[in-house]
Assembly symmetry: C2
Homo-oligomer: 406 residues x 2
């Protein structure tokens, strides 16, 4: 039994939210001064918990146990989205620190240990999963060279240098050291809150397939070009988007989601018929078969718009991340722990959002759990989770760690 | 009979295209150094044609005849769109200068005269119809104070000062001085070129009704928010745009046009469901009744999207410029002139584009004529008109002036 300290847990979560406080949330972009200060603070907490802690060359805070027995790697990301919530990411890091402290205090398990990773830039200020990909050795120097800040264009190299991390080695995983990776995170959705549950046991992280769809027509004057002569790339885009809107529900599964996040008409002036148009489109599902079904239908619709004319329509694949199933034994440990601490108030569910766990899962067994997000709000400073759910979640997390180390 | 000099006409058009030459076209934004240089050059040409010429406080070049008899005001705009054609606007100014010279040389009409206006910023780098609106006294100082450059945000006041025009008086029209206003312009469309005609006699300048349509839903995470819980403002926008696409053709007239020139999804990130969305929509027709019919249908569709939910949809009127009928006697004079110089090779037609003539028409009778645009290309550096059409057009223009002064 690992006994966590609720006051210490909540106190640390409140304290770390001071680094970049924004209204009721936090603004702590990757490699901002407040992000670096928070990472130094986390390293200090890890050292207090008897871990050897370093901040590596891409900002990961890695705390390693000195024990000789079985180990788990725990963690999540430490930065936030812009003007976002106080628990997204950091909750999992502080759970890890609290479990490390509680494990040491428990005495009975002196040979077992946990390492902690506070990953950098899961939130993609520069490069998605920068930290966790670097840690599993799936990121080369050239990709780091090319990356820039998505808001202001600052090169990643420059940001790393300003943060005082240039020249530091990048830490890499030794998979043989671990039984696996366990991550806790806020749900970022409404399923748990809506159902009145306290814990979600992640069955898989959904696959996310992303596309850029480019339409080319002919730019011309909106007053002098008759409707029959137009090759309006914006109108072609609207036709495709409307077809997706009517066709996708017919082939979707219950939790399938699809989103057009951006539309750009070029040149974007009120009196000019757009000569080019672009949309960013994505869909997610935890079934590879369903993802393939969506893509096949999308290709049909794109081909139809392209063949019907008068504009060309091209589908460009941006990403095809496959669903990542969480380790069954980890799911079982989480379920047993939840049955102990929040009996009947948990559910198994896929994760619609991406998480560092899907990266670590490439090198070791991985599991993940959620705590509820009030009203499902995420990536906004009003994001919140009830204190009782934060505490209960940490108890479940600690219990699962105990079982997996046993 | 006013006899124009084709070589002098073409020579001046070629010469003035040197101010801001860009590839085969011209880049001469309002108040750029090349725009001011071109205006000074035009003032010099006006003086050579025995006109008293000034550049006023908003950049208008006004050349006034010293004759005592009947007068017409001729003109068009002198700046260009960015990286645009060599004839758009300036053609009508140089036609005016050529007619002034030819009128003086003809001797027979020594009491009659033409004044010339080379208007500023019809192309809306800062403020649409800045020059012509100022000239007819329909522009107050506060509007000038507020205007900024649409590309780089430079305040209009600052641009005027840099151009060396600060403190100069704004010239204003004395309508009693004129029988009316006559403007020549390239068509900017394909109707004349397609029909193999040389001259278009403008019957009216179409009304242009513009709207901003704003959709409000709820921003949320594209992975964790199920389809049934979404309030996707972008999806609502696509539904309205698709309805316009299917409904407007059913009630349109032959030359009606409608355009969605810009779509913005907010925040515009691939993995965020847009909480807000905006589209800029406009339609044009030369019938006020048709414009009203379009707006009524648009209001119905907006109401339907708003009532069906889950997003709100609001229609904001940006502009409702009514169609401006050109003076019938001016149309008749242009038609008689065309029948003389290009028999059978002209047509009456509405102008789908906006022109300074619609502003001057608020104070005096106004007429307008077009020369063909090769392949209808406009607002692009490849815009062009055959030399023979430029010359024939000027002959028709001069003949119409002669008839209207007679």
């Amino acid at each position: 039994m690992i006994e966590i300290n609720p006051d210490r847990l909540i106190g640390d979560l409140r304290r770390v939210a001071d680094f970049g406080r924004y209204k009721t949330g936090v603004h702590r972009p990757t490699f901002s001064p407040q992000d670096i200060a928070a990472r130094e603070w986390l390293a200090e907490r890890m050292r207090e918990a008897d871990l050897d802690a370093v901040i590596d060359g891409v900002g990961n805070v890695i705390g390693r146990s000195r024990t000789s027995g079985p180990k788990l790697l725990l963690g999540s990301h430490a930065e936030t989205q812009n003007e976002a919530g106080w628990l997204d990411g950091i909750l999992g890091v502080v759970y890890g620190i609290e479990v490390a402290r509680a494990l040491r205090e428990s005495g009975s398990r002196s040979d077992a240990g946990v390492d902690i990773g506070a990953w950098a830039d899961e939130e993609t200020h520069f490069l998605q999963f920068l930290g966790s990909r670097s840690f599993i050795d799936d990121l080369d120097e050239e990709e780091i060279d090319r990356a820039v800040n998505k808001d202001d264009g600052t090169p990643l190299r420059e940001a790393i240098e300003r943060a005082g991390l240039a020249g530091r080695p990048r830490e890499h995983v030794d998979p043989s050291r671990y039984r696996g990776y366990l991550e806790a995170h806020i749900e970022q959705g409404y399923y748990l809150d809506h159902a009145g549950l306290s814990v979600g046991i992640v069955t898989s992280i959904v696959g996310l397939w992303q596309y850029r769809i480019a339409f080319a027509g002919e730019q011309s004057h909106a007053g002098t070009t008759g409707m029959g002569r137009r090759r309006d790339a914006g109108a072609a885009l609207v036709r495709l988007a409307a077809m997706i809107d009517s066709e996708f529900p017919k082939i979707a599964r219950e939790r399938s989601v699809w989103t057009t996040g951006r539309i750009v008409l070029d040149p974007g002036a009120p009196s000019i018929i757009p000569g080019r148009a672009t949309m960013l489109f994505q869909f997610r599902d935890d079934s590879l078969e369903q993802l393939e079904r969506f893509e096949a239908r999308l290709r049909e619709l794109v081909r139809k718009v392209d063949e019907d004319g008068p504009c060309s329509c091209e589908l460009i694949v941006v990403d095809r991340a496959v669903p990542k199933v969480m380790e069954p034994t980890f799911q079982a440990a989480l379920e047993a722990a939840a049955e102990l601490h929040v009996p009947g108030k948990y559910m198994r569910m896929p994760s619609g959002a991406m998480h560092d766990a899907q990266i670590l899962a490439k090198r070791m067994p991985a599991g993940m759990m959620f705590v509820p997000s009030i009203n499902g709000i995420s990536h906004h400073y009003t994001e919140d989770t009830k204190e009782e759910d934060i505490v209960a979640g940490c108890r479940v997390f600690a219990e699962a760690v105990d079982r997996l180390l046993g």
